[in-house]
Symmetry: C2
Subunit: 354 residues, 2 copies
């Protein structure tokens, strides 16, 4: 599986080149209604090839990352005569790249697709690595596939269409990649002001961060081993995200990951010898950038139940975490008892003064 990863702020000409290289074919653009309004007009203006494409729009937001939206894409591909040699281009955040990729990968048993992430979170995480899917039965990404895009065109030029919360949300995944890499990388990321990064410098940081993910995915595309490293912060993070959603106070994915990362660092200190200095430094940085979550010890059983539903668990009774001994030294699939998770949540609340 050879995937082209292209870092550029000249997106439209790159897409024209990729379409030309694909050969004579029908092109379908999948976007949510926001991206269709804010980004597509720019791309169409700058492109020689996209004006002939069929645009398929889906409603925006994670609550629409569902079977109805997938069926809508399938129906439009089918009604508009898509064939196996058609080309699908998913333009948007992780919701669109995940869902559009799944729809493309399963239409007529698979048509080729390109991802064009328009958010930092999608650029650094969702659009690369081959995870596709949608939410089902109240569970995130319960249905999906591992299937890499033929190409991913990564740019920072659409980030100006986004609120700063979106930028911060993606930056949390970059910090996660930092903790999988080195102390230097962590320090550099935490010493940078997220809201003041120039587009070019962001593209450089982004390229380095995406490379961390790609190196890990290449070793283990279907997540049976080292790929679980990328789950750092996500066991508790997904639980925070589901918990907040169930309380009708949804938080961005990256915010949940930032808080989940702190829980993982606490467990890393308890179980893998991570120096406690990282806990204090990261807690302060998270508090400054992502605020705090509303949480009491009465919520622990609910959070534990969400953690036990994680796809990476072999069994609902065994909750696995990715931990680090030092930044860059990763321990995957460490089984943690409910008692230790409870202790970590207590420390988490202390550190953030929740």
């Amino acid at each position: 599986m050879s995937q082209q990863l292209i870092f550029t702020n000249e997106v439209a000409p790159q897409l024209d080149g990729l379409i030309a290289a694909h050969g004579e074919c029908r092109v379908f653009l999948i976007a949510d209604v926001n991206t269709a309004t804010l980004v597509l007009p720019r791309l169409l203006h700058d492109s020689a090839r996209l004006s002939d494409a069929t645009v398929i729009t889906i409603p925006a937001g994670d609550t629409n990352k569902n079977l109805e939206s997938v069926a809508r894409v399938w129906k439009q591909l089918s009604d508009n005569g898509a064939t196996r040699s058609s080309l699908v281009i998913n333009i948007g955040g992780g919701m669109v790249t995940d869902l559009g990729a799944f729809a493309a990968a399963t239409f007529k048993r698979g048509v080729r697709f390109i991802n064009v992430p328009t958010t930092l979170l999608a650029a650094v995480d969702a659009s690369v690595g081959g995870k596709t899917g949608f939410n089902f039965n109240g569970l995130k990404n319960e249905i999906g596939l591992f299937r890499e895009a033929d190409a991913v065109v990564i740019s920072t030029c659409f980030f100006d269409t986004l609120p700063v919360e979106e930028l911060k949300s993606g930056y949390a995944e970059m910090l996660k990649h930092g903790f999988l890499t080195s102390a230097n990388e962590c320090n550099e990321l935490m010493n940078t002001d997220i809201t003041q990064i120039a587009a070019d410098r962001m593209l450089t940081l982004l390229e380095r961060s995406v490379k961390v993910k790609c190196d890990i995915v290449a070793q283990d595309p279907t997540e049976h081993g080292i790929r679980r490293a990328l789950n750092l912060g996500h066991t508790a993070g997904h639980a925070f995200e589901s918990f907040a959603l169930a309380q009708n106070r949804p938080i961005p994915h990256g915010y949940a990951v930032a808080h989940g990362l702190l829980v993982a660092l606490i467990l890393s200190h308890m179980k893998a010898g991570l120096d406690s200095g990282w806990l204090y430094k990261t807690a302060a940085w998270i508090s400054d950038n992502y605020g705090t979550l509303t949480l009491t010890c009465d919520d622990y059983p609910t959070l534990l139940r969400y953690m036990s539903h994680d796809k990476k668990n072999d069994s609902p009774d065994r909750i696995a975490f990715t931990l680090i001994a030092t930044p860059g030294d990763v321990r995957c699939g460490v089984i943690i008892t409910p008692a230790d998770i409870t202790a970590a949540l207590d420390i988490y609340r202390d550190l953030l003064h929740v």
Copy 2:
């Protein structure tokens, strides 16, 4: 991708062995209501491991090979705590093995599955080769994936639960494999009385026939080249099948393939030099075993439209056929004009006295 193909009439002990080899896991059996009634009790009686399995049933028949049935399987897997290390066993005809395999391959981005075909058609065709999927938007297998089962357990011991039409339906695919192999194979198959084959001899014929398919699939798993050989008889066959269905006179898939095969042989004679002796011999054999279809020249435009929708076509305007110059000498992806298809349908009707 290494797939275990097991030919045996001791199905339950084989499944017990496969489950044990899979390691500690939850087992889910997917079957339609007919198979759940006619076959499952036998299997459960003879097996030491299957009694703990969760049984998921779906309504029977190709009209239920739809998104609703897929969603039903996903929901039951999710509600019953299936994890990535669970094992799904699809037991039934091609409808169940296609749909169950798709559901398993996309649940939590893929759990392992075993196919246990209970019909000749599923044994010789659907259950091996990795094509999974379901009907959508009025089109057969419009949504799906290429994903091979971990193991396929092929037997003839459940064929006694089937009407003779089902046996004939599968036998048409075996004859297709014959035409992809040699004149000897074709003659042996056409000189055998379908309704009088003993279970052991059938298992031998079946093993030879499945091997033809596996050899071709191994060379081209995702159908970009030689795998199209297996499409012999299916371009017209699928059109006959859709046509009959639209007229509320559905015919079994294999019956449609038998008639489609004759159309392919006629085109092979017209375009690839196939000896006309094969046309007369096969027409007589098809007429004896599969009867005739109700068809007039007024139906040709409808049939052509169905043919143009075939997934193997690059474009709806170019109808591709698999042809043979002699049995075993295959020509894939031959573009045939509507005028030539019309001429072939005229000859078809002459040969069968329609």
